[in-house]
Symmetry: C2
Subunit: 192 residues, 2 copies
């Protein structure tokens, strides 16, 4: 049996950095990085963007508020929890409240921070912040950006679990939010 | 109280598509899409790549096999489960077995599919497949790509839970895999 196959890793050092093309939702950058062991220089992609936020939002009768929209990456209509990009100068709590209201017309006075994840630390600089909003009330109409077309719906917990089991809800960053509120192992293991 | 704030959404239609720059791990594309309600044409980014795979791999004494490596997006050393990009012509099960062996030297004969997620359907075309490998044995040495420097470690379940609670493990796609095996709600709610 061989020994433990590897030792501790080191940070890589950056030789140079070059601005790449504007990608609408990301600013691209190419960093020339030195491998700490081989000394070889390698080009690595970095996608810069603001942090993101999303919200597990429950109505007073504990139905989950979801948004359905056409997504350009997978070319399909998805079911997700509300969320979006944090505006410049905006805090993530403020952003969570704004996105919930703009996308759905719902509002809440009971907010709990659920922590954050890194959407893809290999490439992306940003974080995704998760919030829980309880006892939401429908206060107004949607206030969508010109580039959005969003349907609002609510799901009972049984309907939510079914949407997870069938793969209707399958956006990784929606699932990392939902997993902080629900144990979804029975719905997810080998389901899709 | 206003009525339900929105109706069903439609698919958008694509007017044209233009190849964007090569981004090393993604091929970029710009699609000109027509908003189904306003009729306005909008440019949208699509990042194409092969599917990804990762593995919740447990040793015979039920320790989780993790890899530590420097990640260029967040410019930090992360703790993750083994995984990577599926090679052309490779199935995702084959890829999971290959990545586990190459990155860690471990192998297993007990594999269970845990389903898939969409890393970011708004922008990315690809899927991430999650696998569980039980009773792993250390068979050999790492076989790393020239661009990799990876440390292998194993964590008891208590150590895994601590690494999740402190945010040492915070890669969204690692968490979506782990959530299919462990209920991590106590460790994650408001922890980071």
């Amino acid at each position: 049996m061989p020994n433990k196959p590897s030792g501790p890793v080191s940070r890589w050092s950056r030789v140079s950095s070059e601005r790449g093309p504007d990608l609408i939702v990301f600013r691209s950058r190419f960093d020339r990085m030195t491998h700490p062991l081989s000394g070889e220089d390698l080009d690595r992609l970095v996608l810069e963007s603001s942090d993101w936020v999303n919200v597990v939002a429950l109505t007073r009768d504990e139905r989950l508020i979801v948004v359905k929209q056409y997504r350009f990456g997978t070319a399909d209509i998805t079911t997700e929890v509300p969320g979006g990009m944090i505006d410049p100068g905006e805090g993530h709590e403020e952003s969570a409240k704004r996105e919930l209201l703009e996308e759905t017309g719902y509002s809440s006075t009971e907010w709990t921070y659920l922590g954050s994840v890194d959407p893809n630390p290999a490439v992306q600089t940003n974080h995704m912040h998760h919030w829980l909003a309880k006892n939401c009330d429908l206060l107004g109409e949607q206030d969508l950006d010109a580039g959005e077309d969003i349907e609002v719906a609510t799901l009972s917990e049984a309907e939510l679990r079914s949407a997870v089991a069938t793969g209707e809800i399958r956006h990784a960053l929606v699932l990392t939010a939902l997993h902080r509120v629900y144990d979804l192992r029975d719905e997810l293991r080998g389901s899709q």
